[in-house]
């Protein structure tokens, strides 16, 4: 297993390089001159422009520029500086924390509600509860984050406070500690909750039809034990894969949610940086997102082997 993990980490290097190069090239290809944009409406002094272009290696060809950048990241863990001379790592540090908080909150909400509802539906298959859960997941899938975000913000953030006087869900910002992430986390998790509910329901229902469940029943075990020990362990395996892969999606998909709830995370930063053509920031954020994605997938694969003994990596 140890060798497998090392091999997987080594395999992630080319993925990382490829992804960063791609992003680098796309930002490079954007029309317009970032130095000229710095000066705004006025025409910049050609001498200053020339100095700045030299300083930021903007006259070099794409691959050389990329090398300047990536060698700094790889060998000095230096993500460069913005045109305003702020280190990129400093910009990212606090923002990643915000997005990570948001994504993990969403993942936890998703796991609890999604798996919970899915199990409940599977055990009540064909009954009213099951139908209701399925119908509500369909609703959840159909409503885009943009809509559900504003509605929940309005009802739970604004109206609830007006009606009851209780300030449970802050409307926006992160000034209320981890509580600030509850509502945005739920909004971000929304669609994933629906998918996970359906996946859990199918997975458990399928497992309950398996031969080994009949064996467990024939052993004289209680229904509780048959479902709780014998079925659940098997039904969980595909869910872990989904959850792990979803962490990456949640982090990348946080842009809209961060906008709605005004959370200063990387989603907002990425949006602004693309707008300001701050190449180092964009590439830096994407690099770390790719890294998180790779690590999450690695954790999923390792969990997979832990849960399912038939899978052995060597």
């Amino acid at each position: 297993m140890g060798r497998y993990i090392i091999r997987r980490l080594l395999q992630s290097i080319p993925v990382l390089l490829g992804a960063t190069l791609l992003i680098f090239a796309i930002v490079f290809a954007l029309p317009g001159d970032p130095i000229a944009a710095l000066a705004g409406e006025k025409r910049a002094d050609p001498n200053i422009v020339a100095i700045l272009r030299e300083q930021y290696h903007l006259n070099d060809p794409l691959l050389l520029q990329y090398w300047h950048y990536i060698s700094g990241v790889l060998f000095r863990f230096d993500f460069g500086v913005t045109f305003a001379q702020v280190p990129v790592s400093q910009i990212m540090a606090g923002k990643f924390q915000v997005t990570l908080n948001l994504a993990v909150t969403a993942l936890l909400i998703e796991a609890f509600i999604g798996v919970g509802l899915g199990l409940w539906a599977a055990l009540r298959r064909g009954k009213a509860t099951d139908t209701m859960i399925l119908a509500s997941t369909l609703l959840l899938i159909s409503v885009p984050t943009l809509v559900s975000g504003f509605i929940l913000q309005f009802i739970l953030g604004v109206k609830l406070k007006q009606w009851t006087g209780l300030d449970i869900f802050p409307i926006a910002g992160i000034s209320n500690g981890l509580r600030s992430y509850l509502l945005p986390g739920f909004v971000l998790a929304g669609v994933s909750i629906a998918y996970l509910t359906r996946l859990t329901r199918t997975s458990l229902a399928e497992t309950l039809r398996a031969d080994f469940i009949r064996t467990a029943t024939a052993k004289g075990l209680s229904r509780r034990r048959v479902v709780g020990r014998h079925a659940l362990r098997n039904a969980l395996i595909p869910l872990i894969t989904f959850l792990g892969a979803d962490l990456g999606n949640l982090m990348g998909g946080a842009v809209i949610t961060e906008r709605i709830f005004n959370l200063p995370g990387i989603g907002l930063q990425l949006f602004d940086s693309v707008y300001l053509r701050e190449q180092p920031v964009v590439v830096g954020i994407v690099t770390i997102l790719v890294l998180i994605y790779i690590l999450a997938n690695l954790v999923v694969d390792v969990m997979y082997a832990v849960l399912d003994p038939r899978i052995r990596y060597e």
Partner: protein
Amino acid sequence: MKRTSPDVLPAEGGHGDHPLLAVDNLHVEFRTRAGVVRAVNGVSYTVNPGETLAVLGESGSGKSVTAQAIMGILDMPPAVIPKGEIRFRGTDLLKLSEEARTQVRGQRIAMIFQDALSALNPVFTVGWQISEMFRVHRGMSKSDGMKKAVELMDRVRIPAARQRVNDYPHQFSGGMRQRIMIAMSIALDPEVLIADEPTTALDVTVQAQIMELLADLQRESQMGLILITHDLGVVADVADKIAVMYAGRIVENAPVHDIYRAPAHPYTKGLLESIPRVDLKGQDLYAIKGLPPNLLELPTGCAFHPRCPYRQDNCVTDSPPLYQISGWRGSACHYWREVLDGEQ
């Protein structure tokens, strides 16, 4: 429906005049959207301690459904048991509460299944799965349960049991897996063991070993064995008596040797004639003509009449009772005498 009846089962050895297990006029239906599937239509058989009953029949004949009804592992609904009794040492299991039923299941009546790979849980070690019987039903500790599991694996002749107890089902061969299944089923010394096609998924050589193992275990423990199979070859050496099923009914029952010597039902006769024989090499194999009956729409009268070479007019209208020929021998054919005498 709440059943109100004694939850107390007679202890082992009590009520000596009752057979160990008696299935009496059992009916099982599956109420599906397409209609009512009558899977079992009045099956009766008995098993006594140390006895082996082979239940023979093609797929859909109701042999497995009967077994699952005895175990109480049918999915109800869609399955319904509208009629019949399953008496275990004189007590009707169908009238017991679910809790009392769970006490019987696995501990006093156990079952092994056809495909041990899918019948064993893939994510737990075989030791865990065997020892679960002791942990759950006998309150044993994990380590004591594991010791018992090793003992049982030795008993079913799994080589290097001590080393292999922590392996997973997929790490064993088909024959070894079936042995683990058997070890698990005999863990608590059940009085009745139901083996549902235990060798169908195995190689011929392994089949013989498994049958031998079952026979040995039965001799040691004097349990009643119900052997469900569609393979006449498997049955001959180990069974004491045979019940042949067709379309959810027993069409013939007999001590094993009688049935091979002279079948008393056209269906049994057809089955025996379809066995490939070395001395008839090169000739076409005999096959019973026609198709197995549609359980949604059973033929009128005798269910076998559309395929029967002995058919007369009354077969189409009158369902034959199980005519008693002698002792434990019966045939559900109006013309059993002709079949028995070999006339056609």
